[in-house]
């Protein structure tokens, strides 16, 4: 339990922080739209998409959702479990490659 004053002290950041982050999110969104507009392809496209995505997500979680001002106990409890999704992604990539190759082999499409 914390006192109200402690809580308020911790939340009173100047408005300018939010305006700055808002601006950065706008720029990053514009940049990720440009990836499509300028039709980058292949690995350049994919890495740019991922970079802008991670930066945007990081800004939203850390500043807008106040995660950077929270204690480690909460950060760890919320941010670590989603990493399990990468295990699922890895398994599904292996599985998808196998299914794709079987479909090409047995149904002759391609």
């Amino acid at each position: 339990m914390t006192t109200q004053s402690e809580q308020q002290e911790h939340e009173l950041h100047p408005i300018s922080i939010y305006l700055k982050i808002w601006g950065m999110l706008f720029v990053l969104s514009a940049l990720s739209y440009m990836v499509d507009y300028l039709s980058f392809q292949g690995y350049v496209r994919w890495s740019l998409i991922l970079i802008f995505m991670v930066l945007k997500a990081g800004l939203i979680v850390s500043v807008f959702m106040h995660m950077q001002w929270e204690r480690l106990a909460l950060k760890a409890a919320i941010l670590v479990p989603p990493l399990a999704i990468f295990v699922l992604v890895t398994l599904m990539i292996i599985e998808a490659n196998y299914i794709f190759s079987s479909r090409v082999t047995y149904f002759g499409a391609g």
Binding site: M1, E6, D36, M53, A57, I60, V63, A73, I85
Partner: protein, 231 residues
């Protein structure tokens, strides 16, 4: 810690039973998350579970897109619009992205004004957030009806792989449902702020908790935008 339990056993205070007991047992997480009220911790845990729902949807989308032997529709063209004689790729989705980011910005400031006890500005910013959210849903309705008119169905579409339709309707539909629920939620909290409900207790956590939900909706859109529309 041990002293605390001794105190309790010494005084022979039995914890409350029934629903009140259930509530109190679960809210004891405030021992773990210091300086985090239980309402906020619970919202974070709800959002964590929601992360897995959207994560599973996106992984499922990845799997069907990787396994199909048909050509995946070019989202850049599917979501293009012709505005004033100009053919602009993916423009509707870009506008939706900017609208949702703007709503996140107004929400972040609303939380700040709530802690400053500036009720009118806080409520105004929350209503602005809800209106931007409603605009987003409106554009999504337009997008859905346009695609349905063009023959996109969950079981097939004229542009390529059939799985495009099913993943599109499932993922954007579930996200749109979250935005719609968020608009209602924000409107309710904004009315409570305006009425001064939080003024009596002096506790404006409710605004921050609503804000967490709203930012999460924006966060999910960042991933949907990257993986579904841009990839």
């Amino acid at each position: 810690m041990s002293q605390q339990t001794q105190d309790i056993t010494g005084n022979k205070i039995s914890p409350p039973e029934g629903w009140q007991g259930l509530n109190e047992d679960w809210s004891s997480d405030k021992e773990t998350f210091k300086s985090v009220p239980w309402g906020k911790a619970m919202m974070w845990i709800f959002l964590l579970s929601d992360t897995f729902i959207f994560g599973s949807f996106l992984v499922g989308y990845m799997a069907v897109r990787m396994t199909t032997t048909e050509l995946w529709p070019n989202s850049s063209e599917v979501f293009a619009l012709t505005i004033a004689g100009q053919h602009i790729p993916l423009i509707l989705i870009a506008i939706m992205t900017f609208v949702l980011i703007s709503s996140s910005g107004t929400m972040a400031m609303a939380v700040n004004f709530a802690y400053r006890r500036n009720r009118s500005v806080c409520a105004a910013l929350m209503f602005a957030t809800a209106i931007l959210g409603a605009c987003f849903v409106g554009m999504q309705v337009f997008e859905w009806s346009k695609l349905i008119e063009e023959g996109v169905r969950p079981w097939g579409n004229p542009f390529g792989a059939a799985q495009f339709g099913s993943t599109f309707f499932m993922i954007t539909g579930f996200h749109g449902l979250h935005v719609s629920a968020g608009v209602i939620y924000l409107t309710i909290v904004a009315i409570k702020v305006l009425r001064g409900d939080f003024e009596r207790s002096g506790d404006y956590q409710g605004v921050e908790i609503a804000g967490l939900y709203w930012h999460f909706v924006d966060l999910v859109w960042v991933f949907i935008f990257a993986f579904f529309y841009l990839w």
